[in-house]
Symmetry: C2
Subunit: 135 residues, 2 copies
């Protein structure tokens, strides 16, 4: 292997993951790119390639409904293909909801028609407790 830094991550992967962990909230690929210009990043593929791998290995989730990426908080949990997310539209914070029940329920629901689920996207947009209280 070549540019290892930590537990099998390459330099670019490490940088992208750190940026997401630092943010503690979802970032768009282009925001990450901007934050890593000082580290030498210059073009989108550098970010997207790292993100692809990180998503593949379960360290990062893609939030399809807002075209953004967020570091996974349960690096050791099972259901990376079936996680659900609660996205606060006020503060941008994301909570990862892990519920095996839900995954099962979805599989069953679709399965009634003979549909086989490969990947499920569950994203709830609304207001988190904190922002609710502040309103």
């Amino acid at each position: 292997m070549s540019g290892d830094t930590l537990s099998g991550l390459t330099r670019n992967q490490t940088l992208v993951l750190s940026a997401l962990e630092r943010a503690g909230a979802p970032l768009s690929a282009y925001t990450i790119l901007d934050q890593l210009r000082e580290e030498g990043f210059r073009a989108p593929p550098q970010v997207y390639r790292a993100l692809d791998k990180l998503v593949e290995m379960g360290a990062v989730h893609r939030l399809e409904s807002i075209n953004a990426f967020v570091a996974c908080r349960h690096p050791d949990c099972e259901g990376h293909e079936t996680a659900a997310f609660a996205i606060c539209e006020t503060c941008g914070q994301v909570r990862e909801l892990n519920d095996a029940h839900l995954a099962h329920h979805l599989r069953d629901l679709a399965g009634k028609d003979g549909f086989v689920v490969r990947k499920s996207t569950v994203e709830l947009r609304g207001t988190c407790a904190t922002c609710q209280a502040a309103a």
Copy 2:
């Protein structure tokens, strides 16, 4: 009112909805645009404006995970904000799953943390029964 054609839809809204109904499958905004060039469509806003209204009134759903739009098959059902979709990655067909249980479950799950859901996105990608059998 101005360009009415049917039940309160304007000309452009009618054209866009017809295109989606004709397709019987999800279309991207730009595909719709291309299909409506002969009817005089020339720029994205004409499509997006119509789509916005149609989504708002529940006649069309936006599939966030594939950046596409699909005509709603249950024009009279309740849960337009909580519908779930099974999207076949082989044939492109979409099945709309309506399950009040699921909506409740999601609200409860998020609600444990005090999160209030405004809109939920549930999209399952996989293989439909037909394509499964053909494999």
